[in-house]
Symmetry: none
Subunit: 204 residues, 2 copies
């Protein structure tokens, strides 16, 4: 590799580990890396210094990668930045589709486009955090999340709130879901919470 004119790369990804991995790989490859953990920060950074390339995570809370691309394209100053959307693999595809397609379990339906949740066809009222929590859960069923993971992925990596605060929001979410669906949010003792419809019979 003779020259290295493509120097500055801006990575936009809400998940620190992924960002870190990419950053390390790119730095080892000789690039100058800047990071942003959400679309807003990225847009901000871009105005002050135009990178030569942007790596953008498709799935991000609040403003998705796709939306970030649109905004960049809309602005003449940033319209010509080469963009690479980082998508994930196999099981992740479902998650990506999860942005555009409704997810449904046992009459509980989450519509990511309209950002609405219905139970038996009736609209539920969820606060923003409750909605994002539920979206994370429903797009990752049967997966246990620690409180820290939930904070990272629902609140965002840069805020500091008590872990116990998660419990309170779980409580609020359960309450909002109503008796018919509240047990879909299961407690994983010693760890955190999990969304699951398979309530395998307890052996005893």
């Amino acid at each position: 590799m003779s020259q290295q004119p493509l120097r500055r790369v801006l990575i936009v990804d809400d998940e620190p580990p992924v960002r870190e991995m990419l950053a390390v790989a790119l730095e080892m490859a000789g690039f100058e890396v800047t990071e942003a953990d959400n679309a807003a920060t990225a847009l901000n950074q871009v105005t002050s210094s135009i990178p030569d390339l942007m790596l953008i995570d498709w799935m991000m809370p609040q403003v998705s990668g796709l939306e970030l691309c649109r905004r960049l394209r809309r602005n003449p100053d940033t319209a010509s930045i080469p963009l690479i959307l980082l998508t994930a693999r196999g099981e992740e595809d479902a998650k990506i589709k999860g942005i555009e397609e409704p997810v449904e379990f046992t009459e509980l339906r989450l519509d990511p486009i309209g950002q609405r949740v219905t139970a038996f066809g009736r609209l539920l009222t969820l606060s923003p955090i409750e909605y994002r929590l539920l979206q994370l859960f429903m797009t990752n069923p049967d997966r246990a999340f620690s409180r820290t993971q939930l904070l990272d992925r629902v609140w965002g990596g840069d805020v500091y709130v008590e872990e116990r605060t998660v419990d309170v929001h779980i409580r609020r979410l359960r309450k909002a879901l109503g008796s018919a669906h509240e047990d879909l949010i299961q407690t994983v003792r010693g760890t955190g919470y999990r969304f699951s419809t398979t309530d395998l019979d307890k052996a005893h």
Copy 2:
């Protein structure tokens, strides 16, 4: 975006949709894209034409992305190609480490993603310590652990608890596993415990 000297990009990914997506994005960004759906093909292509950058999927059947990187680094001709390993998001990391594949022995199944254990398909109720004990055992079958080792690896190195306490938890774990699986947790007299499906003890 004045010049565009970094032209040729080789994408190595076994999944057509992901490859396609990256290819389209890169081509729109002005790059010249070549594709390979496995490590062998990639190595082959690289010898005939050295790309300016390679995007490599970490998780590929047969030869993993990481292994492909090593091979490229080993060869002086390809050692200096900038590489970007495409990893998936958060949860994938754990899978790469191999922690997350479900483990199963004789109808006893432990699912690390959901943090659940089932016996004959029915959910078992395990306390956090019991779960961690079982996970250690099942991921290290046929290996005897001393009480001290168990304390270190399940409780963590910084706590002080009596060694006898391990016995109590083994008892609880066996009980929770039920008669069909309790003997999988074998006592190694004078040493500690072991998880095994083969009962080699009888010989002497």
